[in-house]
């Protein structure tokens, strides 16, 4: 009969399709985003942050950047920045989610924990010209975002998304650029959850003595680590740009080690304990201490 009656066939096909749909797509609404998933510290976006998020969507940033730190050790190490893996409760205000499916660029779920400078100077420089900060980067330049932000719908967005806002939040939009908005969004990403500061900030060397006292022996490697991880903020020739110059520092070795490993939150220096092992950090310390003006 099925081979002869298209109406019955279509109804049957619909039912067959709906079984898996009901179990894996409809039923989960009961479990996902329920009160047990909620995280009290996670706050909705401010008008400026939401505008930034909309620009992120407009430019299709999600085509290269994911926003989920998976429960894998390497993911947590690379993209967690002390905040651990992503939790369901962190995304309850995301309509739509921007988890993405491809990492042509790094994951941004917790990028707000990495670049902590309140003025977002790293982001600004990077968005204007990514290669000025990361020479080998294949990211397009977004200097065209240095244009006044259109705030026509800002308030309506807050109402539609049912996010709380104050008049001060709206006043804050005045004179802002699209760049300001997307950076405000970047700075918010991943910062709501409580960070394991203790674990993140106490990375100290096994021994306080720098095993590399001869710069010559390790200079080539140290320079390549420097070019990769430090040059974007301290300048190609260590002359200092966003961060200070690094030519012959007078600080003790162990202190330099601690700064590189743990960062300095107040002035935006990120932590490198996740991406550099002890040996590499010591080599950088040697370079910073002994490297002089001429190299």
């Amino acid at each position: 009969m099925l081979e002869k009656n298209p109406v019955i066939f279509i109804i049957l096909a619909f039912i067959v399709i709906m079984v898996g749909t009901a179990v894996t797509m409809i039923a989960p609404f009961k479990w996902i985003n329920d009160p047990g998933d909620r995280i009290a510290e996670v706050k909705p976006y401010s008008p400026l942050q939401q505008e930034g998020r909309d620009i992120y969507m407009r430019e299709g940033c999600n085509n290269c950047h994911s926003q989920t730190v998976r429960t894998l050790a390497v993911d947590v190490e690379r993209y967690g920045y002390g905040g651990g893996y992503s939790k369901s409760g962190e995304f309850v205000y995301d309509r739509p989610q921007l988890w993405g499916s491809r990492r042509t660029g790094p994951d941004l779920a917790r990028i707000g924990l990495k670049y902590i400078d309140p003025k977002g100077m790293w982001h600004r420089k990077h968005m204007d010209n990514p290669q000025s900060v990361v020479p080998a980067s294949n990211m397009p330049a977004y200097a065209f975002l240095n244009t006044p932000l259109d705030t026509t719908y800002s308030e309506r967005k807050m109402k539609l998304l049912k996010f709380p806002y104050t008049q001060a939040d709206l006043d804050d939009l005045k004179g802002k650029s699209e760049m300001d908005a997307i950076i405000a969004y970047m700075r918010k990403l991943g910062t709501d959850i409580p960070v394991k500061k203790a674990a993140a900030a106490q990375h100290l060397p096994a021994s306080r003595i720098n095993p590399f006292s001869d710069l010559k022996a390790i200079k080539a490697e140290a320079l390549s680590i420097y070019a990769r991880d430090c040059a974007s903020c301290h300048g190609d020739k260590r002359e200092g740009t966003l961060g200070p110059a690094l030519k012959g520092s007078a600080r003790p070795d162990a202190e330099l080690f601690a700064i590189i490993a743990n960062g300095i939150e107040a002035n935006g220096m990120p932590s490198f304990s996740g991406s550099l092992d002890e040996q590499k950090i010591w080599k950088l310390v040697t370079l910073i201490k002994l490297g002089k003006q001429d190299d």
């Binding site: 081979e3 002869k4 298209p6 109406v7 096909a13 619909f14 067959v16 399709i17 709906m18 898996g20 749909t21 179990v23 894996t24 797509m25 989960p28 996902i32 985003n33 998933d37 909309d54 407009r58 430019e59 299709g60 085509n63 290269c64 994911s66 989920t68 429960t71 050790a73 993911d75 190490e77 690379r78 992503s86 369901s88 962190e90 995304f91 205000y93 995301d94 309509r95 739509p96 989610q97 921007l98 988890w99 499916s101 790094p106 990514p130 080998a136 980067s137 294949n138 990211m139 397009p140 200097a143 719908y153 309506r156 539609l160 990769r228 991880d229 304990s273 996740g274 991406s275 092992d277």
Partner: protein, 466 residues
């Protein structure tokens, strides 16, 4: 015998031609973005940046080339399998107009940055409604033709077609639910993890209902036509059909392994993905066994090459897919270039190969003529095959290499490579990939020329008859 049924093939022709035009756009944009990944200075802000162009590439491919040619070929197949003229040729003409206006507007709005950001459902709500209307108009036309059919039995191709009509409608409508802010902007009806789960229920089953069921319908129809062999087993076709459309819908969350989506949904998705090997290979074996005793046609019949190569890539695709759906393997290759390698084997190796064969065949029938040049068709075959293989294989290597580097750790647990080191390692593959795009494009150009000449030949012979 009564007089032969008169079929309405104008819209078949129209949809085929336009789908090829949009398919060419997809390939051209694909080449441009592959070059941008290797040379970022090729981004022209703001309209021609990678982030805005990539959705144009995927939408032109899936909606322009895929849906366009499916509609054309389904009009063709349905009329012949039912021995009934198309229910409404006028409606078909309107559908074609809407289709072209819709796809053109899609390209323009996406370049302007107007998008919903959900993969393969990027079009903003007014255009999403247009897409839904196109699909419903087409569905009504096909379904009414089936209802009024003169041939009582419904061949397996019609089953796949009807499942696609229902399936695509449900998936597309649900994933596009949202709240409009204004004409050019809306927010998803779902948030966070729910949104992700709905998105990949859609994303993966768009592959099932749009990029598996329709090409299978086409394959099941054209393989017997082209070879003169009846399909090996109708029963195996039926069992594969029902288990395929049942199992597919459980598997969306294999795109979300290790994410905040509940573990039990991930595990179900994993298990059903593995189970899907059976119905997928049911169709593959049905194709192979239909060739029993006729394998020499691979040498003598240019269309068999396309079809058998296509179904072979389908077989490989449906082994590789379940492999990727396993947690451990996903941890390794997810988010890397392995996945575009996989997707392009399906899109270029499986779907497009079958479409090429079907279009060649339908074009000669519609025009009541022979193909202009079998030799050119062979050239076309080898160029697109080599282009696709270079693409997929370089991306698999790049994916494995980057995946291994991203997972590498030092003895103290810290990461061995920075993200940029992993990127620098795969840039050479990006350049090779861009070259493969040009080879594929060359094949496509040969196809278009050959088809154009065949149409021309048909016009001449028909004029001579008249």
């Amino acid at each position: 015998m009564s007089a032969p049924t008169r079929y309405f093939d104008d819209s078949v022709k129209g949809f085929i031609i336009w789908s090829i035009i949009w398919g060419t756009v997809a390939v051209l944009v694909g080449i441009l973005i592959s070059l941008q990944l290797a040379w970022p200075q090729l981004n022209v802000a703001p309209y021609l940046t990678y982030g805005r162009l990539r959705p144009i590439h995927t939408n032109a491919g899936i909606f322009g080339w895929g849906i366009g040619s499916f509609i054309g070929l389904f009009f063709y197949i349905t009329q012949r399998l039912t021995k009934t003229p198309l229910w409404s040729p006028g409606l078909a003409r309107v559908t074609l107009w809407l289709f072209n206006v819709g796809i053109a507007s899609a390209a323009v709005t996406l370049a302007m940055g107007i998008n919903r950001t959900k993969e393969y459902a990027e079009l903003e709500w007014p255009l999403a409604i247009v897409v839904a209307i196109i699909w419903v108009l087409f569905s009504i036309n096909v379904f009414m033709t089936i209802l009024k059919r003169k041939e009582e039995q419904m061949y397996i191709s019609l089953w796949y077609i009807m499942a696609a009509l229902v399936g695509v409608t449900v998936l597309y409508v649900v994933n596009n639910l949202g709240v409009p802010l204004h004409l050019f902007k809306s927010y998803s009806a779902f948030s966070g993890t729910n949104d992700a789960n709905v998105q990949w229920w859609y994303g993966h089953n768009a592959v099932a209902m749009l990029l598996t069921a329709p090409p299978l319908a086409i394959f099941y129809y054209f393989l017997p036509k082209v070879t003169g062999n009846p399909i090996f087993s109708h029963r195996m076709g039926i069992i594969s059909f029902w288990s395929l459309i049942f199992m597919y819908l459980w598997t969306g969350a294999h795109h979300l392994l290790w994410t905040p989506v509940p573990d039990w949904i991930q595990t179900l998705a994993m298990a059903f993905s593995i189970m899907l090997i059976a119905p997928s290979w049911g169709a593959v074996m049905n194709g192979y066994l239909t060739m029993n005793g006729q394998w020499e046609q691979l040498k003598t019949n240019y269309l068999v090459k396309f079809l058998i190569c296509g179904i072979t890539f389908y077989g490989l695709q449906t082994l590789q897919g379940p492999l990727q759906a396993v947690r451990t393997f996903s941890a390794f290759i997810h988010y890397t270039d392995w996945v575009p390698g996989h997707v392009h084997m399906g899109a270029l190796g499986w779907v497009s190969m079958v479409l090429f064969a079907a279009i060649y065949y339908a074009a000669t029938k519609i025009n009541d003529t022979e193909i202009y040049s079998v030799k050119l068709a062979d050239t076309h075959f080898w160029l697109v095959l080599v282009g696709q293989l270079i693409y997929s294989i370089t991306m698999w290597i790049a994916g494995v290499q980057q995946g291994s580097m991203l997972l590498a750790t030092n003895p103290d647990g810290s990461l061995h490579y920075s993200f940029m080191e992993t990127m620098i390692a795969i840039f050479p593959y990006y350049k090779i990939r861009a070259v493969s795009g040009f080879i594929y494009l060359a094949g496509l150009m040969v196809f278009i020329y050959n088809l154009y000449k065949t149409f021309q030949k048909g016009a001449v012979s028909q004029a001579a008859k008249a």
